[in-house]
C-alpha cells in the first residue's frame, strides 16, 4: 500500500468541508482517476497528498509513513518521491525546455553529467526531443504539458499526482498525453489524476474515486461513476 487516508477532513477557513471523512487505500502501481464536479474536492485531495496543505482531521500515510507531522528533511523526501503536474503547466517562461526539466534535477542537487544525460532521454520519451532549445511560449499546449510531465518524472518519483492535466487540451492531444501517462504507469509509477473528462475516464477503464461535495461517493474500476 503506497497511500492511505483515514477519516481525512479538510475545511478552508469557515464554510462547509472541502473534504469530509475520506477513507481510501491505494496500492503501488495503481492508476487512479479522481472524478467529481467542480468544487467536489479533487484539487484539495491532490494538495493534501503532496502536503501543500494539511488535513484538519484524520491521517494520511505515504509509503506507510504518516505525513501529518514531518520535519523539513522529511517534507523534502516526500516531495522527491512525488511528481506533480497541473492544468496550467507551470513552466518557467524564461527558461528553455531543457532548462525547465534540468531545473528539477539541479534542485535536488544531481550532478551535472547525469543531468546532461538524463534530460534528453526523458524529452525523447515524451516525444519532444527536438524541442530542447525552445521556450515554452513557442510550444503548443500539449507540448508544454509534456515538458511539465518530463519535469515531474525526471527524478523518478514513486507517485505522480496530476490535477486536470488535459484540462486545457483538445481531445486528440489529450489522448497522446494519456498514452504517455499509461506508459509511465506501466513502468511501475503510481498515478493519481484528477479530471472531469468523462470520455478519457470511460476509455481508460481504471479505478475511479468519485467525489461529490467533499464526500467519497464511489470507488470502483470502470467508467465515470456519477
Amino acid at each position: 500500500m503506497i497511500i492511505q487516508m483515514t477519516n481525512v477532513c479538510k475545511k478552508y477557513e469557515k464554510g462547509k468541508a472541502a473534504l469530509n471523512d475520506i477513507n481510501i487505500e491505494i496500492q503501488k502501481g495503481e492508476f487512479i482517476f479522481l472524478t467529481g464536479q467542480s468544487g467536489a474536492g479533487k484539487s484539495t485531495m491532490i494538495k493534501l497528498l503532496f502536503r501543500e496543505i494539511l488535513p484538519d482531521e484524520g491521517q494520511i500515510f505515504v509509503a506507510n509513513r504518516s505525513i501529518n507531522r514531518l520535519n523539513n528533511v522529511e517534507v523534502v523526501r516526500l516531495r522527491r518521491n512525488t511528481g506533480v503536474v497541473f492544468q496550467d503547466f507551470r513552466l518557467m517562461e524564461t527558461k528553455t525546455v531543457f532548462e525547465n526539466v534540468a531545473f528539477a534535477m539541479k534542485a535536488i542537487e544531481e550532478p551535472w553529467f547525469l543531468i546532461k544525460r538524463r534530460v534528453p532521454e526523458v524529452l525523447e520519451k515524451m516525444g519532444i526531443g527536438d524541442k530542447a532549445d525552445s521556450f515554452p511560449r513557442q510550444l503548443s499546449g500539449g507540448e508544454q504539458q509534456r515538458v511539465a510531465l518530463a519535469r515531474a518524472v525526471i527524478n523518478r518519483p514513486m507517485i505522480i499526482l496530476a490535477d486536470e492535466p488535459t484540462g486545457n487540451l483538445d481531445p486528440d492531444t489529450s489522448d497522446d498525453l494519456m498514452n504517455i501517462f499509461s506508459q509511465i504507469n506501466a513502468e511501475g509509477t503510481t498515478i493519481i489524476m484528477a479530471t472531469h473528462d468523462k470520455r478519457i475516464v470511460n476509455e481508460k477503464r481504471k479505478r475511479v474515486l468519485a467525489l461529490k461535495g467533499g464526500e467519497l461517493v464511489g470507488d470502483a474500476v470502470g467508467g465515470w461513476l456519477l
Partner: protein, 294 residues
C-alpha cells in the same frame, strides 16, 4: 546540502544583480556610504583613543609657586609634595628653565618673548607620580597647599578628550545605526524583488523537493555580495583619502599623534568587509523569512 551544489547556486546572485540592476546599484551605494562613515568613524575613534592614551600615560603634575613665595616657602612645599602618597620624585624648575622648555617645544624664542613681554612663568615643581592613576589625587592635594598658584596636569585634557570621544561615539553610533538600518532595508527590498522575480522557480523547487538551504543560499549570497561590493567601494575611498587627510592634519595640528594607515589597514579592511557581508546577510534574511516559509 552538498557543497558541490554551489555550482548551481553561484551564478544566481549575478543573474539577479543584472535583472535588478538599478535597485542593486542603490543598495550597493547605500551600503558604501554606510560603511564609509563607519570606517571614518572607526579611524577617528582610534586616533582620539591614541591621543588620550598618550596623555593618560603622562604622570607629571606641574605645581606653580605663588609670586610672593620665599625660599623657605619653596622648601616646605617641596617637603609637603614629597610626603604625598604615590609621588615618585619632585624636581624644581626655575622660571628660566620653564621658559627654555616652552621655547624648545614651540620654537622661536624672540617671537615668544615679544609676545609675552617679559618671562611670565613662575618657579615650579615637576611632580612625577608612580602610577598615572595617582595624578589626580596628587594634583588635588597640591592645590590646597600654601603658596601654590596653580596646578596643571595632563589629566584635564584627557578628561576633555574622553568627553569628546564619548560624544562622538554616541552621535556616531546613532548615525551608523540609522544608516545600517537603511542599508539593510534597501538590501532586503532588492532581495525581495529577486524573490518575486524567482517566485515560479521557488515554487518549482519546493514541488520537486529542493532542500531549504538550496533555495535560500542564492538570496543569502546576493545580499552578502551587495554588502561586499559596498564595503569594497567604501574601503577604496578610505584607503585613498586617509593619508592625504592625515598629512593635512599633521601640518595644522602638530601636537597631536596620528595613527598611520599601515598600522590599521588590516583591522580596518577586515571590519569594513566583514560589516558589509554581515549587513548584507541580514538584509536577505528578512525577505527570506517572509517569503520562503516552508
Amino acid at each position: 546540502m552538498k557543497a558541490s551544489s554551489f555550482r548551481y547556486i553561484f551564478p544566481e546572485p549575478f543573474n539577479s544583480l543584472k535583472r535588478n540592476s538599478w535597485m542593486s546599484v542603490a543598495a550597493i551605494v547605500t551600503m558604501a556610504i554606510t560603511l564609509l562613515l563607519c570606517g571614518v568613524f572607526w579611524l577617528l575613534v582610534m586616533n582620539i583613543n591614541a591621543n588620550a592614551t598618550m596623555m593618560e600615560s603622562q604622570v607629571e603634575v606641574k605645581v606653580f609657586l605663588a609670586d610672593d613665595a620665599t625660599e623657605a616657602d619653596s622648601i616646605s612645599l617641596k617637603t609637603n609634595l614629597e610626603s604625598l602618597a604615590g609621588v615618585a620624585s619632585v624636581t624644581f624648575v626655575s622660571k628660566e628653565e620653564g621658559l627654555d622648555t616652552l621655547i624648545a617645544r614651540f620654537g622661536d624664542k624672540d617671537r615668544i618673548l615679544a609676545a609675552l613681554g617679559s618671562n611670565p612663568l613662575p618657579d615650579s615643581y615637576t611632580v612625577t607620580a608612580t602610577e598615572p592613576e595617582d595624578v589626580v589625587q596628587i594634583a588635588e592635594a597640591a592645590e590646597t597647599m600654601d603658596k601654590v598658584q596653580a596646578v596643571r596636569y595632563g589629566q584635564g585634557t584627557v578628561e576633555n578628550l574622553f568627553a569628546t570621544l564619548n560624544w562622538i561615539r554616541t552621535i556616531g553610533v546613532g548615525i551608523m545605526v540609522l544608516l545600517s538600518v537603511s542599508a539593510v532595508l534597501l538590501i532586503s527590498m532588492t532581495i525581495r524583488m529577486t524573490v518575486i522575480a524567482r517566485r515560479e522557480e521557488i515554487r518549482v523547487m519546493k514541488y520537486v523537493g529542493a532542500s531549504n538551504w538550496f533555495i535560500r543560499w542564492p538570496f543569502l549570497l546576493e545580499g552578502m555580495f551587495i554588502g561586499f561590493l559596498g564595503a569594497l567601494i567604501a574601503l577604496a575611498i578610505v584607503l585613498f583619502s586617509y593619508d592625504k587627510l592625515i598629512d593635512y592634519m599633521v601640518q595644522n595640528l602638530i601636537f597631536l599623534t596620528y595613527i598611520s594607515l599601515k598600522d590599521v589597514i588590516f583591522q580596518t579592511s577586515a571590519v569594513m568587509l566583514f560589516g558589509g557581508i554581515v549587513l548584507g546577510a541580514l538584509g536577505s534574511i528578512i525577505p527570506m523569512r517572509r517569503f520562503l516559509k516552508a
